[in-house]
């Protein structure tokens, strides 16, 4: 099976390379060319500056949005009165594309990084909130009763029962949010920025630098993939007792 997979990947790459040799349009580079350009770009400081600028926007936004989402979601999950006040507003605004708020955020918080960080945080808030909320609600009643019966206080029940049983759901939400944070970061940078990978790809597009376009694409792909792996790895460390939901 592994052989079939590796074979398929090699086949696609080989077909791509051959097609490029046979003559593809200018904007499709061959895998070998992309690798070469990427290696060249890795040797320059410019690429790292753009990656740094992008991460400086997406990571704080992700952290802020996830933290707010987890805290409010857990609170709404355990406190029915708070739930009745907050949840309708959240579920009402859930299907709304948050990126349309970027222009108004730019007016309020300036054109710099703050508006971008806040729009990323807003987008990341929803998946984590909904998952933390569902996770807290799904805590098995019998576990809560047992803890109460054994004399645990409310704080203890929250910390030792509700939180651990909601944690896998929270992680699942964070996984969605992390992917989303890169999408929103990229979109915000394509719309308006002076640095970052989204900016780089726009500049490359406008000046027909197809090599830079693919370098930027490959960088964001690697970042997204690495971030996801890192999150899954830390999930395995923190929640070792729990099987990952498929």
């Amino acid at each position: 099976m592994r052989l079939a997979r590796a074979g398929l990947l090699l086949l696609v790459l080989a077909a791509w390379q051959l097609a490029a040799l046979a003559g593809l349009p200018d904007y499709v580079l061959s895998p070998a060319e992309i690798l070469r350009d990427f290696a060249t770009a890795l040797g320059t400081a410019e690429l790292y500056q753009h990656i740094g600028a992008s991460l400086a926007r997406s990571l704080p936004g992700f952290a802020l949005g996830s933290l707010a989402g987890a805290m409010l979601g857990l609170a709404a999950g355990v406190a029915p009165r708070f739930d009745r006040m907050l949840s309708p507003a959240v579920f009402l605004s859930y299907p709304v594309p948050k990126i349309v708020m970027l222009p108004i955020f730019m007016l309020w918080f300036g054109i710099g990084d703050l508006s971008k960080i806040l729009i990323i945080a807003l987008a990341c808030f929803y998946p984590v909130f909904i998952n933390a909320y569902t996770g807290a609600k799904r805590t098995r009643t019998i576990l809560v009763w047992s803890a109460l019966n054994m004399g645990a206080g409310r704080a203890r029940v929250f910390g030792s029962v509700v939180l651990p049983s909601a944690a896998p759901m929270i992680f699942a939400g964070m996984r969605v949010s992390l992917a989303l944070s890169f999408v929103v970061m990229f979109a915000a940078e394509m719309i308006n920025a002076r640095s970052g990978l989204g900016y780089l790809i726009r500049v490359a597009e406008n000046s027909l630098r197809f090599d830079l376009m693919w370098v930027s694409l490959l960088s964001i792909a690697i970042l997204g993939y690495a971030g996801d792996r890192l999150l899954r790895w830390s999930r395995g460390r923190l929640l070792a007792w729990q099987e990952e939901p498929a």
């Binding site: 009745r84 948050k98 222009p103 569902t134 490359a204």
Partner: protein
Amino acid sequence: MRFVFVAAALAAWEAAAHSGLWSPLLFPSLEAIAWELGRLLASGDFLLEAWVTLERALGGFALAAAFGVTLGVLMGRSSFVAALLDPLFSGTYAVPKLALFPIFVFVFGIGSLSKIALVFLECLYPIVIMTWHGARDVNRALLWAAQGMGASRAAILRRVVLPATAPFIFAGFRVAVPVAMIVVVITEMVSSADGLGYRVIYSLSSLKTDRMLAVVVVIAALGWLLDRAVVLLRDRLIYWEKLDTYYV
């Protein structure tokens, strides 16, 4: 009681708009936004513009639904297909497909096609993954029973696998519909000469904040209505089971 937060936010907005602390450019009052909204909805041009956006979102979504359900069922019912395609989907899941947009513009042109292609690609993931999980976990006793009673493979697929997978398919649709709206609006904001996303950027550039927020309200309403439509369809079609999760 239910909409306390919504009402409080609107009241705070209106107070900020009338306090005189900020320019009306930053906080246009609700009546100004409502006025612009009325003007937009009364003009045929704008409705056409909204239709362009909706058409792109629904076109990409429909393609993703057709391909995604087929792929997902294949992956769920054949371990060979699953092993072949799983690395592809799980490996590129966290990669922002939006980065491909500039290349799509060169390949498919700057019109609707490049946007529909990107919507298709982004919507494909949730639909494939949810359908796959649903089709994989079909109750084996049901399959055996159908086989034992002599049902053909096609009959089993249609009468057992699809109904058992349907709740998961709709869960995937519910994730994919907002994604479709997000992607369309982003691509229209980035490069377009029509559609609602373009109107947001255009109104901002002409410093008509009230008009921009009116367009935002329309986009929000469209996103909400599409989600309701999926829920309505689901409740009509699948009355026997409910999955209330948004995510895998």
